[in-house]
């Protein structure tokens, strides 16, 4: 758990953070908060603990509450630990019309967890999310940076298998492995 070790960005991340802060005018560096929180979430085990948020507040020289109130507003920030693969299935509109609920049920059964839960081995979490802008390739799910589209239950099975044997944590900031459009 990330609360047990010293919270400090890697040199590479810190350089990126400072580069991002320079994108905004003098005195407006708080603008970099969302991009920095993405980096923090990717670096510190996929979620934002209070100490991580305090650390980010320190970097931006703002009050911790300014970070908490923002982190809790946006759906992509996890305020609790999640599995290495946080599976986000779109449940809105066209995805719903074309079988999103079947996909969600199938994953629940396959992983033996409910939406909002994490598998005991810490490998998978399942989340139902709102429209991800992939309506023409519905149903779909996002894992880390990648969109997996035109899903069938077989496709889902193969993906789960692949994620498991790969065993790596997936982050939004990763390089995407495929593009479908």
């Amino acid at each position: 758990m990330n609360t047990n070790k010293e919270i400090k960005f890697s040199d590479e991340s810190l350089a990126l953070v400072h580069k991002l802060m320079k994108r905004y005018p003098e005195g407006k560096h708080k603008s970099a908060l969302l991009p920095i929180l993405h980096i923090a979430q990717a670096e510190f085990d996929g979620w934002l603990s209070a100490p991580v948020m305090d650390y980010v507040a320190g970097i931006l020289n703002i009050q911790p509450i300014e970070v908490y109130e923002v982190a809790s507003f946006y759906s992509m920030f996890n305020l609790k630990p999640v599995g290495k693969c946080n599976i986000e299935v779109c449940r809105t509109s066209s995805c719903w019309l074309l079988g999103a609920e079947d996909v969600i049920r199938h994953i629940e059964k396959k992983l033996n967890i409910k939406v909002g839960e994490t598998t005991v081995d810490g490998m998978f979490s399942l989340k139902a999310v709102e429209c991800l802008g992939s309506c023409g390739t519905a149903p779909m799910m996002q894992v880390g940076a990648d969109y997996y589209e035109n899903l069938t239950l077989d496709k889902v099975d193969n993906l789960l298998q692949r994620f498991k044997s790969d065993g790596k944590r997936k982050s939004y900031t990763d390089k995407a492995e495929k593009r479908s459009l």
């Binding site: 507003f73 946006y74 939406v115 802008g133 023409g136 519905a138 390089k175 593009r179």
Partner: protein
């Protein structure tokens, strides 16, 4: 009806500069168009050359006005007019912010455009920023599109390396920096003032207008916020002239529109259409949606993203006066909300005869409840109640009076909130009841598919982490 000949589509004469009807996606089929070299080989960045070397900022604004271009994000406000509202106090920075937050359910055209032809947006940002006098601009892209943000970042690097961004572009006095800014998951950040709040590193709570962003926007400086597609359209407008652009399309719906087609159709995808083709052609022609899946019947269409009124098959194909309904701002809104809808974002969701309108509405209402920022009581409370009542109806515990109660709630939300999310939540409810009231009453009398709903409601209860 399945084989409507696309050549029957209403055409306009005199499109000498716009061969075919594709303007933004003209080069979409060219391999490698995502890269700078290929994009440049096909005339990329010529609008920046023309603008910086031969035009004044005022002249560009004038061309955009002449083009009749209207905001492609959903509201359809004339872009040139919006630009002319920009305050220009001495010594104060001005900003252009591109709204790439695309999160209106049913809409995925901006993602397509940015992913396929990122340099078109960058070119549009440079030329538009020159016109507006902005020396730094931002592309605010929704966080889920992280991989698209990477594509944009790479394209921006290429543009810097080739002298299109940075100091003294093309040896002129114009210096300009462009940055990508990623959001983190919030539908409301597509509303322009919420987007600006978010860009300032805050919660995405919309601001009270006035002041409008054109007077006090990003960092309280004069700011123009435009959708991706709108900014991309500035490129052909500068290249070919506003008048040439205005010759494409129909009436006040000039130019082309990117339509995101999804749902129960044979060929979902992003289509660039000339405004003015018929809805019937768009749905049934093989050039576009290719008809309804499995040969089923069309039941209803949400024509412009989840927020716009849903229309039953007869009213989406023909107006109340029996005229063919066209893909244009005016024709889609013909008849007002009583019998019409809106072009909106162009998120075209097609539903076949097997679709339950009540369940679909519940899906939409849950979305708006989830996405309400909570600032205004009518929206925060009302969206929750609408979702709950719809759930009650679907679970078999509905009362006949619930339909009227839903109507009453949506009326009390519409127009009574700081931002249009309240309206966006109200309109689907109002239109579904207006056109499909019988179906709601049938659900009250004879509920069906209750198991599905129970399951989904549980997902909502347990799955909503945010």
């Amino acid at each position: 009806m399945g084989n409507v000949n696309p050549t029957q589509t209403k055409q306009k004469k005199g499109l000498f500069n716009f061969m075919g009807k594709k303007i933004l996606l003209k080069h979409d089929h060219i391999p490698g168009i995502r890269s700078y070299d290929v994009y440049r080989q096909h005339g990329g960045y010529s609008s920046v050359e023309k603008a910086l070397k031969t035009m004044t900022p005022e002249a560009i604004v004038e061309e955009v006005k002449k083009s009749g271009l209207r905001g492609r994000g959903g509201a359809g406000f004339p872009t040139g007019l919006k630009w002319s509202f920009l305050a220009k106090p001495e010594g104060v920075a001005r900003y252009l912010v591109c709204n790439a937050d695309e999160s209106e359910p049913g809409t995925f055209k901006d993602r397509y455009l940015m992913e396929r032809i990122p340099h078109l947006l960058i070119e549009g940002m440079i030329a538009s920023s020159f016109a507006l006098g902005a020396s730094t601009s931002y592309i605010y892209i929704r966080g889920e599109y992280f991989y698209v943000a990477r594509i944009l970042e790479q394209a921006i690097e290429e543009a810097y390396a080739n002298g299109w961004l940075g100091k003294n572009i093309l040896g002129t006095d114009f210096s300009f920096d462009l940055h990508v800014h990623v959001g983190a998951g919030a539908y409301i950040c597509g509303e322009e003032t919420a987007l600006l709040e978010s860009l300032e590193g805050k919660r995405g709570n919309p601001r009270i207008k006035p002041p409008f962003p054109a007077i006090a926007g990003l960092y309280a400086c004069p700011t123009i916020v435009n959708n991706v597609e709108t900014i991309a359209a500035v490129v052909p407008i500068i290249n070919e002239g506003g008048e040439a652009y205005a010759q494409v399309g129909i009436g006040k719906s000039t130019g082309t529109k990117l339509i995101s087609a999804s749902g129960h159709i044979n060929k979902p995808g992003v289509y660039e259409i000339e405004m003015g083709i018929t809805v019937e052609d768009f749905i049934y022609s093989d050039e576009w949606c290719g008809g309804i899946r499995g040969g089923k019947k069309l039941k209803a269409v949400v024509a412009g993203g989840s927020s716009v009124p849903i229309l039953p098959a007869d009213l989406i194909l023909k107006t109340a006066n029996g005229e063919p309904r066209l893909m244009s701002y005016e024709s889609l809104s013909d008849g007002g909300f009583a019998t019409g809808t809106m072009l909106g974002s162009g998120g075209f969701i097609v539903m076949d005869e097997t679709t339950s309108i009540v369940k679909n509405l519940w899906n939409f209402s849950r979305f708006y409840h989830h996405e309400s920022c909570g600032q205004c009581s009518p929206c925060r409370e009302g969206t929750g109640w609408m979702e709950k009542i719809l759930h009650r109806i679907l679970e078999g515990h509905g009362k006949m009076s619930d339909v009227d109660l839903l109507w009453d709630i949506q009326e009390k939300i519409e127009g009574k909130t700081i931002c249009p999310l309240g309206d966006a939540a109200a309109w689907p409810v109002a239109s579904a009841i207006r056109h499909f009231r019988k179906e709601f009453e049938e659900y009250v009398q004879k509920p069906s598919s209750i198991e599905d709903v129970k399951h989904y409601y549980r997902l909502h209860e347990e799955g909503t982490i945010s």
